[in-house]
């Protein structure tokens, strides 16, 4: 009788180890997915922004068209990033982590990446205060901050990747403005560099966090 119970306990212990490993693997996949998102989005965004800025400056287009160029770049970047993430990155759904997100979550997520860009580029702000060529940087920082408060904060993984990225980007914004004002048209390159650096830091932090799951 005792031996039977011991065998049963042993079997359950093995099952417990397997199930705990499965849970860890899904957490690992979800955090890797976040890291991939930063790398893919960062590289797509940086490459497209640099091309857009170069072409824009080379053509000598007036600043009033910059909003259109920027919006087009963001839409193209989002489309390419989503397609790439869906096809090559490990995917993660909150349901797998025991959290059922409200149906509005996707809408919030989408809006958080649209509204800040529309607002910042529509504001009648003097170019000397916030140059057109770098307005996308604070817009991205605000977008990430909003996305953190509306979406990421609810994640059962308790990650703060978007918050960290938004802080890094918002902190680097004044430096980009100073560079742009000191050397016109160079601030765009600096902004791209700061954005890439921020995403690199957050992506690396996410990878480190994923690695820790199995330590």
């Amino acid at each position: 009788m005792d031996e039977d119970r011991d065998n049963r306990v042993d079997n359950v212990e093995e099952a417990a180890k397997l199930v705990v490993l499965a849970k860890k693997l899904v957490e690992y996949r979800c955090i890797l997915s976040a890291a991939f998102a930063f790398f893919i989005f960062g590289m797509t965004f940086a490459s497209l922004v640099m091309i857009a800025i170069s072409v824009y400056i080379a053509l000598g287009a007036p600043s009033r068209f910059w909003a259109l160029v920027s919006f087009g770049t963001v839409v193209l970047c989002a489309t390419i990033s989503i397609l790439l993430l869906r096809s090559v990155a490990p995917m993660c759904r909150y349901e797998e982590l025991g959290y059922e997100p409200p149906s509005r979550l996707r809408l919030y997520y989408g809006l958080s990446f649209i509204v800040p860009f529309v607002v910042l580029y529509s504001l009648p702000m003097p170019n000397a205060l916030l140059p057109y060529t770098i307005r996308w940087l604070p817009a991205l920082g605000i977008a990430l901050l909003v996305a953190y408060f509306t979406v990421e904060r609810r994640s059962p993984l308790n990650t703060k990747f978007m918050l960290l990225a938004s802080i890094l980007i918002l902190v680097s914004t004044p430096i980009s403005i100073a560079i742009e004002l000191a050397a016109p048209n160079i601030g765009g390159a600096a902004s791209t560099g700061f954005m890439l650096l921020s995403y690199l830091i957050v992506g690396a932090h996410a990878l480190r966090r994923a690695k820790k799951i199995f330590e």
Binding site: R8, V9, N11, V12, E13, A15, A16, K17, L18, V19, V20, A22, K23, L25, V26, R29, M91, E95, E96, G98, E100
Partner: protein
């Protein structure tokens, strides 16, 4: 003694149907790597087609999985995936087993 009682109580509360090694391996595969075709499950679990079908039937009756015909590059295949209730059940079982594992590790 109290810990042993706690282990026994947790054991009683677990769904034994799901703890069956074959069904558990199917659940773990579907949870970790997402929807799979029947052929993929046969390959990954090492079960025979008949064995897999009978275990999938039991999981389906409990509402843990759902099966649907899907068009794949290799033709029409039966896709097996966890239902939202299946994910919830799996995670509940995982929490209980995790607790049990902690008790057992403290016990030994």
């Amino acid at each position: 003694m109290a810990e042993e009682r706690a282990v026994i109580e947790e054991l009683k509360r677990l769904d034994r149907d799901l703890l069956n090694p074959k069904r558990l391996s199917i659940l773990v595969i579907l949870y970790v790597s997402g929807p799979k075709t029947m052929a993929q499950l046969v390959r990954l679990t090492g079960l025979s087609w008949g064995d897999l079908e009978s275990n999938l039937r039991k999981l389906r009756e409990k509402g843990i999985i759902e099966m649907s015909k899907t068009i794949t590059p290799n033709g029409i295949r039966t896709m097996v995936k966890l239902t939202p209730y299946g994910v919830k059940t799996f995670l509940e079982m995982a929490s209980k087993l995790e607790l049990l594992l902690k008790i057992l590790r403290g016990d030994r």
